[in-house]
């Protein structure tokens, strides 16, 4: 039946080989878990000449701590991420978001690297990772660089690069993730997702990050919310402040009235969770 048109398939054993292939091919596509890439291929008019699988490259696998960071190999599958002790212990919010990503077979196939590198904004993970301060290791034949995930997603995509690691700072950071779907079903694309993270100072919240993801655009930083809450004691934050801050931020987003309401509800819930903590 030939469901896909022809291309050349490669399965390099090392990152260097992969980079070389990437350089040589006319129109290459990198294949991680395949759930985005192959799906896109079926509909794409711009068809690749070469598909380069990253499956056999050992350097892209594993989860480990290094310095004060957690290193996650981009070929880590979502189900492996969920099962990882490191994630369960230090990044509960990431685990929860990963559990709601796609469906069971998708979680068994999709990788965290594919999830961020595909720049497919319907998924929750990039927003969660941004709120947790994730940085990416990216390599090309010219060498490597480390870039913040938010910057990576919003910069112009460089063709000949491979994401070779995801770095998460190991700090004492609190985080909440809220998610509303288009159909009230858990298994659905996010109508609105909100990840809220912060570190705790003596007096109150420090380094607050609120990141929103929707089916409309790349993750959006809620800068107003972050600045309103910065340094405030738990009990000093009023609902009105929050609402005002949310409304300020909304000017930078494409959120409709209903999504704004959901955002306000989530912020309200966060507030009561924070207050509960303070009490």
């Amino acid at each position: 039946m030939a469901l896909l048109r022809d291309f050349k398939f490669h399965s390099p054993d090392t990152l260097l080989q992969a980079l070389a292939l990437l350089e040589q091919a006319d129109s290459p596509v990198l294949l991680a878990g395949g759930t985005f890439a192959l799906n896109t291929l079926k509909k794409s008019s711009k068809y690749p000449t070469d598909v380069i699988s990253l499956r056999k490259i050992p350097e892209l696998n594993g989860i480990k701590t290094q310095d004060k960071e957690l290193w996650i190999g981009p070929m880590t599958r979502i189900d492996e991420l969920i099962g990882s002790r490191f994630i369960q212990d230090s990044f509960v919010c990431l685990k929860e978001a990963a559990l709601k990503l796609g469906t069971t077979p998708i979680r068994n196939m999709a990788t965290i690297g594919g999830n961020v590198a595909s720049r497919f904004y319907w998924v929750d993970l990039p927003a969660v990772l941004i709120a947790l301060g994730a940085r990416l290791e990216v390599v090309s034949q010219d060498g490597g660089r480390v870039v913040g995930l938010y910057d990576y997603l919003t910069e112009k995509k460089l063709k000949k690069e491979i994401v070779s690691g995801i770095l998460l700072p190991l700090e004492n950071r609190g985080a909440y993730h809220f998610r509303h779907t288009c159909t009230v079903q858990e298994v659905d694309t996010p109508y609105l997702g909100l990840t809220f993270s912060f570190t705790r100072g003596k007096e109150g919240l420090l380094d607050v990050r609120a990141v929103v993801n929707t089916t409309l655009s790349f993750p959006v930083f809620l800068k107003g919310v972050s600045s309103v809450l910065q340094g405030l004691g738990y009990k000093e934050i009023s609902l009105d402040d929050m609402r005002k801050a949310v409304c300020e931020d909304i000017k930078n987003t494409k959120l409709d009235e209903y999504r704004i309401q959901l955002l306000c509800v989530d912020m309200e819930n966060i507030l009561s969770l924070l207050n509960g903590k303070a009490a």
Binding site: M1, V184, Q261
Partner: protein
Amino acid sequence: MNKNKTLSPVGKSVPRIDAREKVSGEAKYVFDMTFPGMLVGKMLRSPHAHAKILKIDTSKALKLKGVKAVITAEDTLKIKFGSNEFFFPYTVDQYPLEFEKVRYIGDEIAAVAAVDEETAKEALSLIEVEYEILSAVFNTVDAMKPGAPQIHSSMNNIGVMLPVSFGNPDKALKESDYVREDIFYLQSAAHCALEPHVSLGQYEVSTNKITLWTSTQAPFKVREAMAKVLKMATADIRVIKLNVGGGFGGKLEMLPMDFAACLLSKKSGGLPVKITCSREEEFSFTRRKHPMVYKLKSGVKKDGTIMAITGEVIADGGAYCSYGPTVIAAAIMRIFMVYKIENIRLMGFRVYTNNSISGAIRGFGGVQSGFAIESHMDMLARGIGMDSMEFRLKNATDPNTVTVNKLIISSNGLKDCIKKVGEACGWKEKNGKDKTDGDIVCGIGMGIAADVMGSKMYKSHESAGSIIKVEEDGSVYLFTGAADTGQGSDTALAQIAAQELGVAYERIRVKAADTETTPFDTGSFASRVTFISGNATKNAATDAKKQILEIVALELKCDSNDFDIHDECVVKKADNSKIMDFDKAIQLCYSFDYGRLIIGRGNYNPKTTPIDFRTGQGNVSGSYSFEAQVAEVEVNKKTGEVRVTKMYDVHDIGYPVNPASVHGQIEGSIVMGIGYTLYEDLKFDQGRVVNPSFSKYRLPRSIGIPKIESIFIETNDPQGPFGAKGMGESSLLPTAAAIANAVYDAVGVQIKDLPITPEKVLKALKEKEDRG
């Protein structure tokens, strides 16, 4: 053969006859079929919503290497087909391949057959079509305006107009204590059978015969349409159904692809041609649910008596009529089965637009009318301060009655259903009580419904036939034209055959739905198979049994009336004493008088009367089934999210031939209903379906499905085989209203516009707050 012996299988949840092959992966669908030399067929569809076809040039496509045939209307006899020809000849409006005009995005104008998918696709792109674009209409309001683009020749694009009219509703409205008017909006939806439409056609050159394997609910209907458009004898067209991966009304008629597969095979010298719909084609170009606007104005007395119901229904029919008349009739006539009404005037309009074709889908307009009427009834009850369950009990139809439109209702457990569902859910304790937990508010709501089993709306008859063939060793074949599409009808028919013949269920082999080898049957629709094909099968088994007993009686020189067959034995009726084994009796038959073969035949045509479509009078079905449903919901006041937490369904199914199957139908219907109520929505933009995939058109998944408690009321219908009634669709009918009414019970807003999205709930709550 299975070692188990299930004697007297009717009423038992025996495993489905096809379950073993389905769990093993061996079950064959047309989807799986291949033949040596088989070609891939593809349809060329219009990219325009409305356009004149000026010229079609297929020469380039024909020259492409690997292309074996290209067909356009010029290769056809240009004969129109339609699904309601007998009573509504003017709705026969579609050519297998269009040549004058295209009327929706997807309209079929040509087809190709090639050696592989890739070549077939390329060939499509090489067919050159010149169009003259015409202005198009995409909603019923615009379509009915004077001067609107004319899609067919009907005035104001109204393709079907049907009334029901009895009594004096205007006078009765004046005499009412409370009158209210509501408008309900119902969206379109897709069937989403997991097996797509597949047609595999093969033409036999030497005999000029056609064989079509197709994923269908109604092989005999497909054959009839094929015979018409090809001007062939039905005996020269063999339509075969294998396992079908779901139908839900979407596989009830011949589609142009069925026709094209056969004609392409003829054109390519008899090579088999297979056409498989992609998921996108399934969503965009097959059939869909009629979107409707349902207006109601009704009056009641203070004591709850319904005085009058008036209103109109306007349905977006899309480009062609399909099953339009029946859907409209069902949308305005189902109410008579449910409520005692003397004064009524409803008008149903089905309007042509340049959207895709609206057709049959589980519930046949009843889902739409069920939502409108059952929501409206709740609001009427509320208006007079009456409990909606009491209101329904007061107005529900009774057993052994003839309704104002001459429906003959014999067994009727509707009131028992209402009472029982009320008890099961704790209606008295829960309804109208405040149940708030933070932002979450619980609510409970009811809906009731009734359904036909078969429908006197397609033909002069509703006959079905069965043949029982008993082999020398006592093996039993049942030949039936009925089409099991997964609902389990083959199993139910085997149970009925075994029960009547007095043998174990495991003896029966079902050979079904092959127009050449099985008796006629109109197909799987209108919840008719258990009732109509079931009766035919029972009659065939009775006939076979009679033949056996006559020979046994001759041999023993007794009266055959003194004997019966039970538990695989011929017994004496008087004392149930065993005369001989079934196998022994069959051996006797085969050797008696140098051989008597046992072939039982059965036929059944329900006692119905044709409908007078000027008033809505006539007994459409041989019997009627009834039910009451309750939904429990949780509404989040802050986000507007509605979750269905529990469903109760009490159903008068007559008698359950296979209780597990019946529960399965009810559960499946309810979950489908929940999807339609809360999120399923086939959306269009300028005639193009904008969400033609499972990622954009969301179906209910396994998470968060509420517990469903389903209870039977057994009324043992005198017409039904072993008292059974049909019930494949009715559980879908009251679900939407039950949920909407539960939302009202929770938060005090009645959503009249499906689907009930969180946004709509929130907006309604805000409006309610603003009103104070």
